[in-house]
């Protein structure tokens, strides 16, 4: 007997649910967001500059500082008068800055109270927190597949034995690092040591963090996260510490700026319109042996450069603009918009109120062990080829999917503890630039296309900018921990799709996923 109308109705309800509900995720994800009009954006250099707040520990004891950070959604006005939902550590973007003294242990309880689904993309926002620049144990390193789901929390422990440097903590959750970080899960972490204290470089109010990233906004204030076929997320607004093209009031003296490119995919060529030099005093892994003045600072995603800018000779009332030069070559993968050539401005408003720590020493850290590494010490040489295959970004033809499929056993290299190796990073395809990040270690850049590294690269690094058709050689010592650590492109879109693999130092290190499992519930402060 054929189906009756009533039966057809009931089966129609079931059938439509079965077909349409799975499809609505595709359809809603494909809905084009309308970019906010340029005329609605603030004019560059009209928004006051600000630095992220420094958070104090919830408690301390003889050895350890204890923090609790809650990853949660909040609504902020990044563009004046326009509400934008963001995800921040403690609900702020960038998250709170953590200041730590070398040798003090830190425990951070990371609580995931994000919504169950991303408002546009619809995925579940699991997170994994990476303290970038720290040689953390594997289970506290933000291993991509070591995820903490909404409703869970995890305690991360850091020993902070490394040298003074600018670190940052950011999300590293598998396949959604770019979206989570773009929503705001990124913040500074500054490690101080006696050498830094002894140097007469600008400190305190003259030690300024600058997290530079770009974003694009929809007419409803939401962030637009178009990744251009997994190539990159590009914004038309340049943000510094979460503010669009801000203007900072400065005194006639030297300032130390900790520059971090927090963009998902955009690189920068920073230059001051006054023609002044910026003096690089530190890289990702801490102080350079000697300062390196540069007129243009090329920097990619996740690289940190500390520069000193001297405003002493700038007349009061004059403005200095930090610009972002377009790249001169034809392979520029950054997408330019009207004001992406501007970053921020400095208005010189007063004479120096303090003459202390107003110098650039001739020598900074001549004894950094990383910079003492010599090629003759290397016990192995490896090559990492960066490429794209079947729509996925790969390293030596493999991706994180291969690591997952192997049950996390597949490794690209297996050096013994304290082995020294030379890695050659080849980006022969010319399709994109790739800032490659190697977890756990600091490295020294030996050469770039057979030539000496750029001046700003003459210090310890953990991210290397590998431009189109470039080959870079690195030397590093593997330690201080055993275990599995990631290697990946820090274009977070590439990382998510799926330019990430891993190496293992020795054998028998802690399991990055199971050694410290997250827990369910709303925890008290640690």
């Amino acid at each position: 007997m054929a189906l009756t109308r009533r039966e057809m109705l009931k089966l129609g309800i079931a059938g439509s649910a079965a077909v349409a509900l799975p499809l609505q995720r595709v359809v809603s994800g494909a809905v084009a967001q309308t970019r906010i009009a340029e005329s609605s954006l603030p004019a560059p250099f009209t928004v006051p500059f600000a630095v992220p707040p420094v958070i104090t520990p919830h408690r301390t004891d003889a050895t350890t500082d204890y923090y609790m950070l809650t990853q949660k959604q909040s609504t902020v006005q990044i563009l004046p008068g326009i509400n934008t939902p963001v995800w921040g550590y403690n609900g702020i973007v960038p998250g709170p800055t953590i200041d730590v003294q070398q040798g003090r242990q830190v425990l951070i309880r990371q609580v995931n109270k994000l919504p169950d689904r991303h408002p546009i993309a619809g995925y579940q926002p699991w997170t994994s927190t990476h303290l970038h620049g720290s040689p953390s144990l594997p289970q506290f390193d933000g291993y991509a597949s070591d995820i903490t789901r909404p409703g869970q929390y995890k305690d991360y422990r850091y020993s902070n034995t490394e040298s003074a440097r600018t670190l940052w903590y950011h999300d590293h959750g598998v396949h959604h690092t770019a979206e989570n970080a773009y929503m705001g899960l990124a913040a500074f972490y500054r490690l101080h040591d006696p050498l830094e204290v002894s140097l007469p470089i600008p400190k305190g109010n003259y030690d300024i963090p600058l997290m530079i990233h770009d974003a694009m906004f929809a007419t409803d204030g939401q962030l637009i996260g178009d990744d251009h076929d997994h190539s990159g997320i590009m914004g038309d607004v340049i943000l510094v510490n979460g503010r669009p093209w801000p203007v900072m009031q400065v005194e006639q003296r030297k300032y130390r700026f900790r520059i971090l490119v927090g963009s998902m995919s955009r690189s920068y060529r920073l230059k001051l319109d006054s023609g002044q030099m910026m003096t690089v005093i530190a890289g990702d892994g801490g102080f350079m042996p000697v300062p390196q003045p540069v007129s243009v600072l090329r920097t990619g995603m996740a690289e940190r450069y500390e520069v000193i800018i001297d405003f002493a000779n700038i007349p009061i009332g004059q403005r200095v603009v930090m610009r972002n030069l377009p790249r001169s070559d034809s392979d520029d993968n950054n997408i330019s918009y009207t004001h992406t050539d501007k970053v921020m401005a400095f208005d010189v408003v007063a004479p120096s109120s303090s003459s202390a720590n107003n110098e650039i020493p001739a020598v900074l850290d001549p004894n950094n062990p990383v910079m003492a590494l010599q090629p003759a010490q290397a016990v192995a040489r490896r090559t990492m080829k960066l490429d794209r295959s079947k729509g996925q970004w790969t390293i030596n033809g493999t991706s994180w999917a291969d690591v997952v499929a192997s049950g996390y056993k597949k490794v690209m290299a297996n050096p013994k503890l304290n082995d020294i190796e030379i890695w050659t990073i080849e980006n022969a395809s010319g399709g994109w630039f790739h800032p490659l990040h190697i977890h756990l270690v600091d490295f020294k850049i030996l050469d770039r296309n057979g030539l000496p590294p750029l001046p700003q690269e003459l210090g310890p690094k953990d991210v290397v900018y590998v431009g189109e058709n470039e080959t870079v050689r690195l030397i590093m010592r593997f330690g201080p921990h055993l275990g599995k650590y990631m290697i990946h492109c820090h274009n977070m879109v590439h990382e998510d799709h799926d330019m990430m693999t891993q190496f293992e130092v020795g054998t028998g290190g802690p399991d990055p996923i199971r050694a410290a499992l997250p827990k369910w519930g709303s925890p008290p402060a640690p």
């Binding site: 169950d116 598998v174 199971r514």
Partner: protein
């Protein structure tokens, strides 16, 4: 009266049967043929995509092969022995596969090497691709065709159950339970 006695073997209409009975037999034969065809079609789709799933994790690949072989086998069984048993197996089997599809493409299924121990990895809801949609449509048609082969009381219960499941799914979506 069970359907085994209602349905004439395909290709052998009842000689001298009244027009109403003959029409009913003809409709049943069409339902058997349609359900068998769509089941076999969905099975072929699963076999075609099995290598891709094997590449992700061997268990996924084996599951796809088992589903594909099962659906093609079901088609043969229904054609050879049309009846309540084979129709119910077809309905419940197809419903189970549709349910897996539904969960995998709305909430995600957290199993496999990226989700061992219930932790680690992280499985997203998959994007519903053309092959998955094509197979699901085939399975829904299979269910609809085989329902017409059930005895009246059983048929009413199955249709009511499916309607309730559909309403539940829509309600879950409206309440935000599907993200």
């Amino acid at each position: 009266m069970s359907i085994e006695t209602e349905i004439q073997p395909v290709g052998s209409p009842a000689v001298g049967a009244p027009p109403a009975v003959a029409a009913k037999c003809s409709a049943s034969r069409r339902a058997v043929a349609l359900g068998a065809f769509t089941s076999a079609y969905a099975g072929l789709v699963h076999l075609v995509v099995a290598p891709e799933h094997l590449g992700h994790w061997w268990v996924f690949g084996v599951f796809m092969i088992a589903v594909g072989v099962g659906q093609i086998g079901l088609a043969g069984w229904v054609l050879r022995r049309p009846g309540t048993s084979s129709a119910m197996v077809g309905i419940l089997g197809s419903l189970a596969i549709v349910a897996v599809y539904f969960v995998a493409h709305t909430r995600g299924i957290d199993i496999g090497p990226a989700g061992d121990d219930g932790h680690g990895g992280g499985h997203d809801a998959e994007t519903a691709g053309p092959a998955a949609i094509a197979a699901t449509v085939g399975e829904l048609v299979t269910i609809g065709a085989f329902i017409t082969l059930l005895p009246l009381m059983l048929r009413r219960r199955v249709v009511n159950l499916l309607g309730a499941l559909g309403l539940g799914a829509w309600a879950l979506w409206l309440l935000g339970g599907l993200g």
